[in-house]
Amino acid sequence: MNVYSAIADPTRRKILELLAERGPLPAAAIARQFQISPPAVSQHLKTLREANLVVVEKRAQQRIYSINTGAMHDLEVWAGRMAQLWKQRFDAIDEILAAEKQKTAVGTSPEAASPE
């Protein structure tokens, strides 16, 4: 599964964000949003297509790109879940540490207890 490497690239992440925010867009409109050359953008779109992260539809002379939400699902669920769990854990640890430091501060000299 090369979904992960496909979104590891910042330009490709920007393309996905753009499609997420604006909906389906023709290749030319996507290319206009970037400083890099249109062929370079095309290459990124190809990578995203091969990773099944975007789908393309030919309409007259245009190629319209949109996000493939189905393929994003696994990655989103996994990374989202892990990030959320770890954030919760870290936040909870923060609270415990604050409480423990408070406890330690009581009974020690004011100097040692004073905040920086």
């Binding site: 997420a20 939400t69 990374a79 989202g80 892990m82 990030a83 954030k87 854990r89």
Partner: protein, 162 residues
Amino acid sequence: MNSGTSNLVINEELREIIMTRTFDAPRELVYRVWTDVQYIPRWWGPREYKTVVEKNDVQPGGLWRFIQYDPKSNEFAFNGEYRLVEPPEKLVYTFDYEGNPGHIIVETVTFEEKDGQTIVTSIDRFQTMDDLHGMLEAGMEKGATDSYERLTELLREVQRVR
């Protein structure tokens, strides 16, 4: 590197996800909160779940088993084995969800002290991509949504491993 911010990194080839966080506390204390059964139920599980530590033998080869109860009293058990214990610097242990056993994750946690703060880095490594998918299918489908908003959020969180 502010205290309170976490960072998520996904590394596909190594099948790892890496989380870091800086805590405003000395390393010994952070390590103690991480390993002491007195503290584990207060941080390990999701907030709305109750976590019970059945055992936690923090030494190489020592076993751990934690049980979570959701608000409806459904039970979810997890277990593993400590592989490396170097207080207060490093821990390596396995992680297996008993609801879908055999998809073992190896978790490596390092505690690094810097200017009185502690940087914790946790690396979750799946044995295979199949294990990753097995984990996904393990009935933890909470939060499954294809909303564009969440997708955008996720993309901002994901960063390349150098």
